[in-house]
């Protein structure tokens, strides 16, 4: 329609309406009403026209909520909940609203941000965003599940080591009890203390990295991402060095001394490029944005990586940068991309064989997401590293370890992993 056509259309529809009289009374209310109408219709039309998978989102939610053969009423309720969820997830300009939310929290000086679907997120005194472990975990179940695995491994002649990784809230002796809002008590480190104590009481080898990690002299800003719940690559690198030293000292490993020194690595920093899991929930305005520093070896490498997912097995061989690093997570310009996954993650089983290192050491690492950079870095100093994640690994771990027969099986978790299915070893 041409401009004059629009004018004719409008005049035809408001003929007889004197605009001056129309806004003579209650002008501000009428302007507000027009603005309101514009907002809700823009939201509706925007959602319908720009959200490509609104219907798919609904169906996915529906299939997750409603089991097959459910009664009619349950299907109806499931459909209603799924529709509400799809509308929420497909809200027009959703990320901008998340930023607005963050702005409102920042303006009010809030250190606690309640996300009904996720729980509370807190801003620490260092300006980092984290969640908190709000309850004591029943670590006895985790310990009891570990004993049969350990006993079985002993029987098979395979050593076992539990490695306690840190959490984003420091232990109280390092000031962790003052990081969060005063009324928040974080139980992560207490849960870890109890688990390590339980393991040691059962004569199971444990290496608690937290003291050396937090006592390293590096600040929390260096050790952990501001906007993600994971440790930074610098922090993971430090942790790997500690574990490597421990393996050399206690398991007679032959990892090259001083391998995990920054002199041997190239650090490439991508400034203001990463908004992690916490940051995505609170927005960039509130949570900020991280630099992402990639560590890659400054020496020759030749590694064979095998990625196993069900019956699919893909093997590649080459330099660390080519086969271990998944650079698409770095190259994607979207800062909300999970850059942390550059160090390989979410495979049922990963196998790294270092074709150049001068030892025949082997490890099986049962890990959580904190382990991603660790096993990638360890592959630079250990002949064979395998990594599995109990959330997706489906085989019997004891049988698997018996067949692989590594020098040591390392169970390596951060302080918030004492939950199902992390200790379900499919035995």
């Amino acid at each position: 329609m041409t401009l004059s056509g629009y004018r004719t259309f409008l005049l035809r529809h408001i003929r007889g309406v004197n605009l001056r009289n129309l806004f003579k009374e209650h002008r501000k209310e009428k302007i507000t009403a027009i603005a309101f109408i514009i907002v809700i219709y823009v939201m509706m039309i925007g959602m319908v026209t720009t959200t490509e998978d609104l219907g798919e989102g609904f169906l996915l939610n529906y299939r997750l909520k409603v089991p097959t053969g459910a009664p009619v009423i349950e299907r109806l309720k499931g459909a209603i909940e799924s529709a509400e969820q799809a509308v929420n997830e497909g809200a027009y300009q959703r990320q901008n609203y998340v930023e607005l939310y963050g702005l409102a929290q920042l303006a009010m000086g809030k250190h606690a941000v309640i996300d009904y679907n996720y729980g509370a997120l807190y801003k620490t005194r260092d300006g980092q965003t984290t969640f908190s472990v709000q309850e004591e975990r029943y670590i006895d179940d985790a310990a009891n599940a570990t004993y049969p695995l350990v006993n079985g491994l002993i029987h098979e002649g395979v050593d076992f080591l539990y490695v306690q990784l840190p959490f984003k809230v420091q232990p109280a002796k390092f000031g962790g009890d003052r990081e969060l809002p005063v009324y928040v008590h974080d139980y992560a480190n207490e849960n870890a203390d109890r688990f390590v104590e339980t393991m040691r009481a059962a004569n199971i080898n444990c290496y608690d990295t937290r003291d050396e990690f937090f006592g390293s002299g590096l600040s929390m800003k260096e050790l952990f991402f501001k906007t993600d719940h994971h440790w930074s690559i610098k922090g993971a690198f430090l942790g790997t060095g500690l574990i490597a030293n421990y393996l050399n000292e206690n398991y007679d490993f032959k990892i090259p001394e001083g391998l995990y020194s920054e002199e041997n690595f190239v650090m490439t920093t991508y400034p203001k490029s990463f908004i992690g899991s916490m940051g995505r929930r609170v927005g960039r305005i509130y949570g900020g944005i991280d630099d992402f520093t990639l560590y890659s070896p400054d020496f020759e490498t030749d590694i064979t990586v095998t990625k196993i997912e069900g019956v699919s097995e893909v093997t590649t061989r080459g330099a660390f940068e080519d086969v271990v690093l998944e650079m698409q997570y770095i190259d994607d310009p979207d800062p909300t991309t999970n850059r942390y996954a550059v160090y390989h993650g979410d495979y049922q089983e990963l196998r790294f064989v270092n074709n150049l290192v001068d030892n025949d050491n082997s490890v099986l690492i049962i890990k959580d997401s904190f382990g991603l950079p660790v096993y990638s870095f360890l592959s630079l100093g250990i002949h064979e590293v395998r990594a599995i994640d109990m959330r997706i690994f489906e085989k019997n771990v004891l049988e698997y370890a018996a067949e692989y027969h590594p020098d040591v099986v390392i169970l390596m978790y951060n302080c918030d992993s004492y939950v199902d299915p992390m200790f379900d070893f499919n035995m």
């Binding site: 509706m44 509308v87 809200a91 607005l100």
Partner: protein, 480 residues
């Protein structure tokens, strides 16, 4: 479906407005049919099965209305119809809301082992059932024309703005408006603004206080709670329930006005009251007036001897407490007001107060009223009488608790802005600011319009941000 939900704001409301105004503009009957369908859909969205209960209520009360109109000149028959309608409507509430409570108490008192069925409570049943009762009685009292069209009765009972959380709209108020209302841009705009104020009250203020109140009541009964945190939690709940309930009423009144209906006010700054009697003339006005007109006056009202007056008050306040939920805590809460209001009436407290023009006396009266109101809300919020008494004992410093603790400091610091504005707007401050601005600068000044629009639309956007974020959005009317 809730008003403070994204699906209502960006799907339901735009669609309903479009169809109502763009497609059905010149057809009042079709508009009413459409609003009825939309209202039933609105209710069914949250209660797929219980919409049938509402449908049954609509059909039966339509029939009762016709019967009572037919037999209005035969007093005996008319009373029989009214009795039947009361039995039916109150029977519905009893079965869904009070049967389990009654059986549990019979078992507890007598040692019987009657099986207590698990019955879900249809949301809003107390509201729409009272409206249905109002319809039949107002038809009988000739305060409204009987509706020969079932759909119009349905619309009155189930109209979505006031369906879930009131206000309880008496039939006499809307009987003419069902067919003879006139939608104007002025009313629509005023309705929108009222809706936005209510949305901000609920989405921004009430939900924030809910976080504090829920934590205080949780730690008081399971862990350790200081005196100050107990008070903070009680005050937070006092503010939560006011902003939640009055916010919802604002949204209901605003939405009604968008469709040409004018509903009466339901809250009038209750926290500035100087007596409990005054509090109940300002709090949930539609409920108070419903009980006054249909129960209190029917029992004789105030024009009786003191003994009968006290009895009438006892009945009304017992029922008021019971209406709020099937729990002894609500009954206790209602009876607390019975005691206080009876004392006020018998001693003539209000009349004496109105004769004294002394700021100190008024301040004391205000503090007394708010003190009792806050204590009452503790009973209202608590799960059991025991929990309420535990909480109150902490508030008054039992031997084991400290005065301050980290919860009080932390939550006060975190929510200082909310408490500031929450307490400020309990009084008609916004109204006075607006009147002052319009007086000094002039309502026609573009700056006034701009600031007003920015504030309300800004509030809308921030509230939507909270909804999209999945921020805490509790629904506190599940007992009603």
């Amino acid at each position: 479906m809730l008003f403070s939900s994204l699906i209502f704001l960006v799907v339901f409301l735009p669609c309903v407005l479009f169809i109502y105004y763009a497609l059905l503009r010149k057809h009042r009957h079709l508009q009413n049919c459409f609003l009825l369908v939309a209202s039933l859909g609105f209710y069914a969205w949250g209660e797929p099965w219980f919409v049938l209960v509402m449908f049954l209520s609509i059909c039966c009360n339509y029939g009762f209305g016709l019967l009572v109109d037919k037999h209005r000149h035969d007093r005996k028959k008319a009373r029989a119809v009214i009795t039947l309608s009361l039995v039916f409507n109150l029977g519905i509430i009893f079965i869904f809301k009070y049967l389990m409570f009654t059986l549990e108490n019979i078992n507890a008192l007598t040692g019987a082992e009657i099986t207590v069925p698990e019955i879900a409570l249809p949301i809003g049943i107390s509201f729409f059932t009272f409206q249905a009762i109002s319809y039949v009685i107002d038809v009988y009292r000739e305060k409204g024309q009987v509706q020969r069209n079932l759909l119009n009765v349905g619309l009155y009972i189930s109209f979505f703005p006031q369906l879930i959380a009131g206000p309880i709209i008496r039939y006499e108020v809307v009987s003419e408006q069902i067919m003879n209302r006139r939608e104007t841009f002025d009313d629509f705009s005023l309705g929108v603004c009222r809706f936005l104020v209510g949305l901000a009250k609920k989405g921004l203020l009430a939900n924030a206080f809910a976080v504090v109140a829920d934590k205080a009541f949780a730690v008081a009964t399971t862990d350790y709670c200081s005196v100050s945190f107990a008070w903070l939690g009680a005050i937070a709940y006092t503010l939560q329930i006011y902003y939640d309930f009055s916010g919802y009423s604002d949204m209901a009144i605003g939405l009604g006005r968008m469709f040409g209906f004018k509903f009466p006010e339901n809250f009038n700054y209750p926290y500035i009251s100087k007596s409990c009697s005054e509090f109940w003339r300002r709090w949930h006005i539609s409920l108070g007036s419903w009980f006054r007109d249909y129960v209190y006056i029917s029992l004789g009202g105030s024009r009786v001897g003191k003994g009968r007056l006290v009895f009438n008050l006892l009945v009304v306040w017992f029922l008021t407490g019971l209406w709020h939920g099937a729990n002894w805590t609500f009954i206790c809460w209602g009876l607390m007001y019975f005691v206080l209001i009876s004392i006020e009436k018998v001693t003539g407290w209000e009349k004496r107060l109105s004769r004294i023009d002394d700021k100190k006396v008024n301040a004391i009266a205000h503090v007394y009223t708010m003190f009792m109101v806050i204590l009452g809300w503790v009973f209202f919020r608590a799960e059991t009488i025991g929990d309420a008494l535990t909480y109150v004992s902490i508030m008054f410093g039992n031997s084991d608790v400290a005065f301050f603790d980290k919860f009080f400091i932390g939550f006060l610091k975190e929510n200082a802005v909310y408490f500031f504005f929450g307490l400020l707007f309990c009084a008609p401050v916004a109204r006075k600011i607006r009147a002052w601005v319009e007086d000094k600068i002039g309502e026609a000044n573009p700056l006034v319009s701009a600031v007003y629009t920015v504030l309300l639309i800004g509030g809308l956007l921030v509230t939507m941000a909270y909804l999209i974020k999945g921020a805490y959005n509790p629904f506190i009317y599940f007992n009603f």
